[in-house]
């Protein structure tokens, strides 16, 4: 570990004449379209991106966190507990690489600004300077700034998904609210919305559990969404979703309001510490017992429900073709639920460094879908709205998700908090 590198992160980087990222932003240079060849415009746009990324990464908290981690890494007895050591070293590595990347952007920005200024002083726009540091012409520096500007724009998005579990796959669970068939129909529409959304993003989808309603829709369903950053995106959907429409199930054509709750559970990777489950703490049962069972019954329904007795957490699966597989799938859901509970408990303990999205209550209303008397979908957390509910219900959710993720990470007025 190079300590010099770490302290460098604390000392604010600048151009040779002392211009910092903050300084550039304070200059209020006008930002033109990126095709305009104006170095001040590029520099201002890059500075803003760096600022935003640092904010999203909770920059000021990363530095002390890194110090704590380095201290622990230097302890001679660290590897006595390999799981803990692995976790520490992974987090350390991840923070280091994030900081290195942002610092690299800063450095690049300042080098190009220095170059451009120097070239202008020489009053020669195409002057080739001597020495390895000054081998770029002003024109090339401008081009490099342009490239940097578009690269860093992409990094803004990546920084939205920098949470520890964001890159994981996840389970999405939809549960119908009170209100019978109307709500169950709504729950199945919401589930369909997520399936389409996941399909659009190229994620794999497996139905784990589905409890159909008596007449229509679903009482509850769980799908597994496989792919990079599935959790990072889907976590923005946790909460109650409200529908207002003329119910197709109401012969009097009255307007109804229905709710469906959405829960999202990350599936931790192999390297993570997972909650140990004791077999003796489990109650395993057939979900729907077929009378006498055994040889008397031939049913392809082999649904299983597992209850973790100490916590009361349950999981069920009925879409696999054997009871053994249903049990294995239900166990995977149960494991992830217990992991999530444990993470929430841990998050409360180290509240100061965890970017916690769990303060969004499972029950709190996050979004309304109005089909009557007017048509609109509105997110109550961000005020983001769309006037075409059909496109949203067909899975066009990214606008809602990204606006929520940026709002929740960018809202702090306080710099880099």
């Amino acid at each position: 570990m190079d300590l010099g590198q770490e302290t460098a992160a604390v000392v604010e980087a600048s151009t040779s004449d002392g211009l910092t990222v903050e300084g550039i932003i304070a200059n209020n240079w006008i930002i033109y379209d990126e095709n305009e060849s104006d170095w001040k415009s590029h520099a201002a746009a890059i500075a803003q991106s760096i600022h935003l990324i640092k904010k999203r990464l909770r920059w000021k908290k990363l530095i002390p966190r890194l110090e704590i981690l380095s201290e622990q890494l230097n302890k001679p007895d660290l590897w006595d507990d390999p799981t803990h050591a692995g976790k520490i070293s992974r987090e350390h590595g991840s923070i280091m690489s994030k900081m290195k990347e942002v610092n690299g952007f800063e450095q690049e920005l300042f080098e190009h600004i220095d170059m451009i200024k120097l070239a202008r002083e020489e009053n020669d726009s195409e002057l080739e300077l001597v020495g390895p540091h000054f081998s770029l012409s002003r024109h090339e520096s401008l081009k490099a700034l342009h490239t940097l500007r578009s690269n860093i724009k992409e990094k803004e998005l990546e920084a939205l998904l920098a949470g520890e579990q964001d890159s994981c796959s996840c389970f999405i669970e939809v549960q119908a609210g009170a209100g019978g068939t109307e709500s169950m129909d709504w729950a199945s529409m919401v589930m369909q919305m997520y399936k389409s959304w996941a399909e659009r993003r190229g994620f794999g989808i497996t139905v784990v559990d589905e409890m159909p309603g008596e007449l229509a829709g679903i009482k509850r369903a769980t799908i597994k969404v496989d792919g990079e950053y599935a959790f990072g995106y889907a976590k923005a959907e946790v909460g109650a979703h409200r529908l207002v429409r003329i119910s197709p199930f109401d012969s009097n054509k009255r307007r109804h309001t229905s709710f469906a709750s959405v829960a999202v559970i990350p599936i931790l990777g192999d390297g993570s510490t997972r909650v140990q489950i004791n077999e003796s703490d489990l109650r395993i049962e057939r979900y729907r017992s077929g009378g006498a069972g055994g040889q008397s019954v031939n049913t392809t329904d082999s649904a299983v429900r597992i209850t973790h007795i100490p916590t009361g957490v349950t999981a069920s699966c009925q879409n696999e073709r054997s009871q053994h597989q249903n049990k294995a799938s239900a166990m995977a859901v149960l494991q992830s639920r217990l992991d999530q509970l444990e993470m929430e408990r841990q998050a409360k303990i180290n509240a100061e460094h965890t970017v916690s999205l769990t303060d969004i209550n499972f029950g709190s209303q996050i979004r309304s879908y109005v089909l009557h008397p007017y048509r609109m979908v509105k997110d109550h957390r961000t005020e983001y709205e769309v006037s075409d509910p059909d496109s949203v219900l067909e899975g066009d959710l990214d606008g809602f998700i990204l606006s929520f993720l940026s709002a929740s990470l960018d809202k702090n007025k306080d710099d880099y908090l």
Binding site: P212, I284, E285, R286, S289, G290, G291, A292, G293, G294, Q295, S296, V297, N298, T299, T300, D301, S302, V304, N319, E320, R321, S322, Q323, H324, Q325, A328
Partner: protein, 358 residues
């Protein structure tokens, strides 16, 4: 095969039809060395040699869905048979097994786009009609049952392994974990093996060998086929014959014994759901007047076949039979067995009797 069934190659000649002849009156009952009936290849293992257009497949799928929907609660009210929801799930699985790329069915393709099938469309119409109208078990339709982490080939004449029976493998696994002596190998037996599911299941958790027996030549053929598919020929020997008859050479030496014998009382069979009483082999279901004929015979045999300390696990019809069996062992066969226990299945029904030879 109808002429409209386009085949990719001349593979149709090696494929057998999905629906086999209903009976084979010429087949001898005992034929340990005679030519064995050839087991059918499960649908999902057949080559995707049949071409249809996307719209033809869609049309079949819609027809099949409507057929499933039309059932409603009729069967479940009638004899505890499948309802529409379950039939819809089975239809998804049939698509999974029959279509080379099952995700296509949800895609939006050109009507004329080709799709490759493992059975021709006429067969798919026919087997789904059989499923709904004749109540032919789904597992016979696709030629397999997913059981534990196995996919076991099944066909008419062989009992479809039940999810309850999956637990016996866990019981054996638990016994091995608790008992070092059992872990040292030795020969186990699965009597009345049917498809061979249980024998394969325990062979995969055991160190030692398993002998699987069955009276039915069809069962012996299917079990042998499944053993081969899981590449366990070296571990599992399938022998034809009644109960302990083919095991004379290992008398008193068995380390373990498992069985899911016929246990339904004769008079109850006709009242069971159509999938069971009209299609599954009576030989594998009928346990005599009170259903206990074979269980008691197994009990008696276990005393002489197991070595001291040997483990056994039997499946029963439920609480009544389990209690009778344990009473019988503890009272009538006093001293032969120890640690006899009744274990429940996932539905909470007291389904299994386990214990050790003293």
């Amino acid at each position: 095969m109808k002429s409209s069934c386009f085949t990719r190659a001349s593979l149709s000649s090696i494929l057998q039809p999905v629906f086999p002849p209903r009976s084979n009156p010429g087949r001898p009952v005992f034929c340990s060395t005679a030519v064995r009936p050839k087991p059918r290849t499960p649908l999902y293992l057949r080559p995707p040699a049949f071409r249809a257009t996307f719209s033809e497949l869609q049309k079949w799928h819609i027809w099949a869905k409507n057929k499933a929907t039309s059932v409603g609660p009729t069967f479940s009210d009638l004899d505890n048979g499948p309802d529409s929801a379950l039939l819809h799930r089975e239809l998804n699985w049939l698509v999974e097994d029959a279509v080379e790329n099952p995700n296509l069915i949800r895609a939006c393709l050109d009507d004329t786009a080709p799709v490759w099938l493992r059975a021709c469309l006429e067969e798919l119409y026919e087997v789904w009609r059989q499923r709904i109208e004749e109540r032919r078990p789904f597992q016979y339709v696709v030629g397999c049952e997913h059981w534990r982490d196995l996919i076991v080939s099944v066909e008419e004449g062989v009992l479809i392994p039940r999810p309850e029976t999956e637990v016996i493998v866990d019981l054996v696994d638990d016994a091995l974990k608790r008992n070092e002596e059992l872990r040292n190998g030795g020969v186990w037996a699965d009597l009345g093996t049917g498809s061979g599911a249980l024998a394969i299941g325990i062979a995969r958790v055991l160190g030692g060998r398993v002998i699987a027996t069955d009276l039915s030549p069809v069962a012996v053929a299917v079990a042998s086929y499944n053993v081969q598919r899981y590449d366990l020929q070296d571990k599992i020997a399938v022998r034809e014959g009644s109960w302990f008859d083919p095991l004379k050479d290992v008398e008193g030496e068995l380390s373990g014994l498992v069985s899911n014998p016929p246990y339904i009382p004769s008079k109850d069979i006709d009242g069971l759901q159509a999938e069971v009483c009209k299609h599954e082999p009576r030989l594998a279901l009928d346990g005599g007047a009170n259903g206990m004929n074979d269980l008691l015979r197994l009990c008696n045999g276990a005393a002489s076949m197991l070595r001291p300390g040997g483990f056994f696990a039997f499946e029963t019809n439920g609480e009544t039979q389990s209690k009778i069996l344990v009473d019988y062992m503890d009272a009538k066969m006093k001293g032969s067995f120890c640690n006899t226990m009744i274990m429940s299945d996932f539905a909470g029904i007291q389904r299994f009797v386990t214990g050790y030879r003293t």
